[in-house]
Symmetry: C2
Subunit: 152 residues, 2 copies
DNA sequence: TCACATTTAATTGTTCGCAATTGAATGTCG
DNA sequence: CGACATTCAATTGCGAACAATTAAATGTGA
């Protein structure tokens, strides 16, 4: 009886999906760490590079919208990527407010070296691709509902 | 054809479950923010309080194991909770290496004020409880598989 | 055109999160 | 008992993450 109550108690840590998500994010980060160390990237830096590998010469703002990050996070991060010679930051000539982020040749080249990363993550997940895709879609849907509430 | 390839490309941002988890964690944090502000807590501080509301007078190490955090994160966090008069930190007399964390009366009292938080999160999730429980269990299982790889 | 609002990036300050190190307390084994 | 390893918390340094503010560029409407 006491057990049954505790498995329903919404104030219990283990009953909270947010803690599941929070702790899973950290677990992913720990798995990524050794893989990304070899590329000289942190996980958020890797996300920015993924965006740029899809489309180059992007305004900082667009990167922020894709990754749900603001300039307070991205400005120093991009300065570090620039210091590592992976990107170049230039003011747009049409709109001087915008900063355009472009890959350097080294930044482009890193895409190849990073090609094996998703494979390693998949292996660590120890889960079938269709299962992972289904989970991903559910989590994205949840995230989008949460973000919709924030805007309200 | 190009579209089909891109939806299978493992190096695409939108195909990565880790980014789904990462961005969902941030979305949760943004929903929690205004709720926890009223309690004077950050989200990680709230997690520590959840642990203590379940069992009081816990070694720092045990809190770390439950939350997957180390002393580098917890020591300053707990000092801030102590400065807010929510917990007390004392060295164990049996084992002087351990620091025991105990709730103050204010720390206990905060549990009641926090009772409505899970309800608000549930509403923001806009999802049935059984669905959320199923997702939570899947995510926890994934997290545990990832953590198992780290240990190896 | 000119006052005003909006957009955008940068900056500042606080809190996480973790790797690496330090130092003290405890355990272990010869 | 005594050398040695282990455990545990604290510390240091770095990189996010975000709120709040600042400043410059652009847009808008009288």
């Amino acid at each position: 009886m006491a057990r049954k109550l505790s498995t329903l108690d919404p104030q219990r840590l283990d009953n909270q999906i947010c803690f599941a998500v929070y702790s899973a994010a950290h677990a992913f980060n720990r798995v990524y760490k050794p893989l990304l160390d070899r590329l000289g990237l942190t996980y958020p830096q890797y996300l920015v590079m993924l965006v740029l590998w899809e489309r180059d010469d992007v305004p900082l703002k667009d990167i922020g919208e894709k990754l749900f990050l603001d300039s307070g996070t991205l400005t120093p991060l991009l300065k570090r990527l620039e210091a590592a010679h992976l990107v170049k930051r230039t003011r747009s000539s049409e709109d001087e407010r915008q900063v355009l982020i472009a890959l350097t040749p080294q930044g482009h080249a890193l895409k190849d070296k990073a090609r094996s990363v998703p494979q390693s993550i998949l292996a660590a997940s120890d889960c079938s691709v269709p299962e992972l895709v289904a989970m991903k879609d559910e989590i994205v849907a949840l995230r989008d509902r949460l973000n919709a509430v924030i805007g309200e």
